[in-house]
Amino acid sequence: MNYIIVCMFLMFLTTYLIRVIPIGFVRKKMENEWIQDFIYYIPFCVLSAMTFPDVLYSTTATGVEPHITVSAVIATAVAVIMAWRKRGLVAVALVAVLVAIIVELALPVLMTMMAR
């Protein structure tokens, strides 16, 4: 019990310090154009690096070692197409989850039909 509470506090402290130190103490505007560009690209690069290729592993059922699944590949493709057509965050996320569930449900049925 005590262990968990100390752990929770440590997680909070570590995460918060990482976030507060730069914005809390950097007050100078950076003039260097390279640094400005670098900072401009950071959000896109972080999100992209977090997403690929991990998204393909993201629909593995809980309790199983993550692996690439057909449902994740199809749902990701649908999400990319929807995002390309400028659909909102929520629509993209929810449709992707639904597509993944439908594929997971349909796949075993298709497999048995093919086996016959």
Partner: protein, 245 residues
Amino acid sequence: MNEFVRGIKRGFPICLGYIPVSFTFGLIAVKMGFSPLQATLISLTNMASAGQFAGIRLIEGGAPYIELVITTFVINLRYFLMSLSLSQKVNPEMPFYKRAIMAYCITDEVFALAAMEPDEVSFPFFGGLMITPILGWTSGTLLGAIASNLLSPMIQGCMGIALYCMFIAIIIPPARKSRKVALAVVVAAALSCIFKYVPGINMLSKVGGGGWAIITSAILGAAICATIKEVKRRRRRAMAERRAA
């Protein structure tokens, strides 16, 4: 329009997107033996998706404190870059306490929306932006923790894709508009794949829950794109000077 209200309007879709993700977190935390209150408290105090998932996995395994701190540090190190980036978007005169409040909610999505603001990011705007995602993240965790036995493992698994699809929905539209952003997205994704699959280099994604691989891919990707832009800028300047001469 009032900045605070504008922030709330911009932040609300993030709130909705956070619910399935934090719901999944609540589910998993309770499965691992955390109480719903503990799970919700972790969400409220961390506001960090990947870091929280890794954290509870370590705590469940009874990891030493130092391992927990190092893993959390590495996975969340990207927030350092985001916070640094945000420090350039706020008024230099903004007092420390306001910065300290904003720092609490520098999440991937909230930051991305703030970073894409054309002008300076004001305190009321960021406050409005962060308020509903905090509610969504914590209440989603609580719901997931309570509903933990109602959903099948398959459906629980499928909800895991929601987070990544939110990321996709954030980066693709600007990448479509700007070739440079598209390049940044492709380069970072390619580097991330290299760090996961190329033998030898993939060590990087196996330590610290993948945090090092993400940070390295992002820094390299942004540095490559910034350098390409710098080279083009110099060439353009040199050409302009030649023309002037």
